[in-house]
Symmetry: C2
């Protein structure tokens, strides 16, 4: 494979070219700060050493790497590995990096990656009613999902990215961005996910109703996280049911899940409020719910007689 | 008590005066966007209808209310109640409000409040070894705390405010901002707390070591949330111990708790990572830990024989 690097002696670095303000690659990258261009190019920007490393190691298709001079020294192993994989490395100024990264404190490394989201049917095992009919026989090793997060109209990218990170930590099998949820490739969402965007299958732009049907057909119970629900997450019956395969549905950070979306679920459950707070932050509520499922699915309950 | 309102007919609102850009009250409020001035004046800004309502209803000493014309109509009951309590109400432009609120989407209401934090000794019952010696006998009804959050060098105001909100929701008795933690009166922290700053005792500027000693003397176990700990939160033994009164120690959002701070605790515990994420966001980890304690302290474990 031919190395598409643009070597330039003045960067003092084999395999890196200096990308001036009018470089076509830089111009193309700059456009990806806008959702419409991301959709058109099916590419996005992943900023910071963690996101770049995860993109590279988890098999995402990285097409360009932008790096500042200080970050190139600080993360030389990572930059070298990427250059050696034949990916063009462009040296840019701190100002250009700040503009691309859309943050006041960029970390100096930014990768252009092709979209990595998958169709809804790809997160359930082949042969299931909702599964892709075209799935080749060899891909039948897909595991039955036991924990999935469905985001319904979650608009805040920081919250969405944090839920993605927490779902990954809790061992969830997938995260579905449904209905009018934020674009998972939004820079703030990518940053808040801390690399988790590259760790587990992400479905973008699904209809919530389709996602619910597909998950239910695949044998998951659909549970709506709904602060107004009568049943508490800490109810022993509820905890026991969480041991079953579960898809958690989380609503908008400001108004939660409206009744018509709660009605799609098998059971609405509230994280109990023991103090005086009116509600929980979405990402905090999701962390409590997803870990309640993770625990119920993994840890055998302590029985009175057996002790532990 | 004399009403300190500056009535002005051109605002069309009895009990509200228009605060021009050079009004002394506005100048004084503007200074409170800076920590040094907050410390000097022992006063801070609470932005948004939720924070203003909680400040007013929870007995915080509100000295001024700033309001835009649209917010005054939208929240007329709240503004009227505050004006009727003799608090000066100042009408300001949207630009002035954005500057005071330090957010691009201010909600048009902002209260100047006196500091509300309490000394460390005030969160434990009188008569306890660490309690304030000067406590009058009548205040002996303070409850023994069973759940406290200790923030050690938490610098991000959004994370700190979210932990405060979650601690309130979990029924915690207090939150201690220790060592180099962010100022709880930082605008972003106040906003992220969603009113919870006014709901439970907050200690600001404590030394972590003093906080640990005081909590331990008051009968609380000190548990460090430490991703590197060998024991998992989901371990049945750990869950059982969480039924005891517990103070959770949370470290910095980027580097967690260093070993010398973990060493202050009775037990370090890790939120287990079941997937591929390297770590959890601080506010998500705190939500999982605080709710694990809240559940253990309230819900009897299901015993094998007894059924539910």
């Amino acid at each position: 494979m031919a190395r598409r690097v643009t070597a330039s002696p003045d960067t003092g670095y084999a395999g890196a070219g200096y990308a001036g303000a009018h470089s076509p690659r830089l111009k193309a990258a700059r456009r990806l700060t806008k959702r419409a261009f991301r959709q058109r190019e099916r590419a996005f920007l992943a900023e910071g050493p963690q996101a770049v490393a995860e993109a590279h190691h988890c098999g995402a298709h990285v097409t360009d790497l932008f790096v500042t001079v200080p970050a190139r020294s600080r993360h030389s192993d990572l930059v070298n590995a990427i250059a050696q994989a034949g990916i063009p490395v462009h040296v840019v100024s701190g100002e250009v990096m700040a503009e691309l990264a859309q943050t006041v404190t960029p970390q100096g490394l930014l990768a252009v990656c092709d979209f990595i989201d998958v169709p809804l049917t790809e997160i359930i095992p082949a042969g299931h009613p909702g599964a892709d009919e075209g799935t080749p026989p060899g891909s039948g090793e897909r595991k039955q999902p036991s924990l999935v997060a469905l985001l319904a109209n979650v608009r805040d990218p920081g919250n969405a990215g944090t839920v993605l990170r927490t779902a990954d930590a809790a061992g969830a099998h997938a995260v579905v961005f449904a209905d009018a949820s934020v674009d998972p490739y939004n820079g703030k969402c990518v940053r808040a996910s801390a690399g988790s965007l590259f760790h587990l299958p992400v479905v973008a732009g699904a209809r919530l109703e389709d996602a619910v049907t597909t998950m239910r057909d695949a044998g998951l119970r659909i549970v709506a996280a709904d602060g107004r629900a009568g049943r508490s997450l800490d109810d022993p019956d509820v905890q026991a049911r969480l041991a079953e395969p579960t898809a958690w549905m989380f609503g908008n950070e400001a108004w939660g899940l409206p009744p018509e979306l709660v009605a799609l679920a098998d059971e609405p459950i509230a994280v109990p409020i023991y103090g005086r707070a009116e509600s929980l932050n979405l990402a905090a509520a999701a962390a409590i719910c997803l870990y309640a499922s993770a625990r119920a699915q993994r840890v055998r309950p302590v029985t009175g007689q057996a002790g532990t």
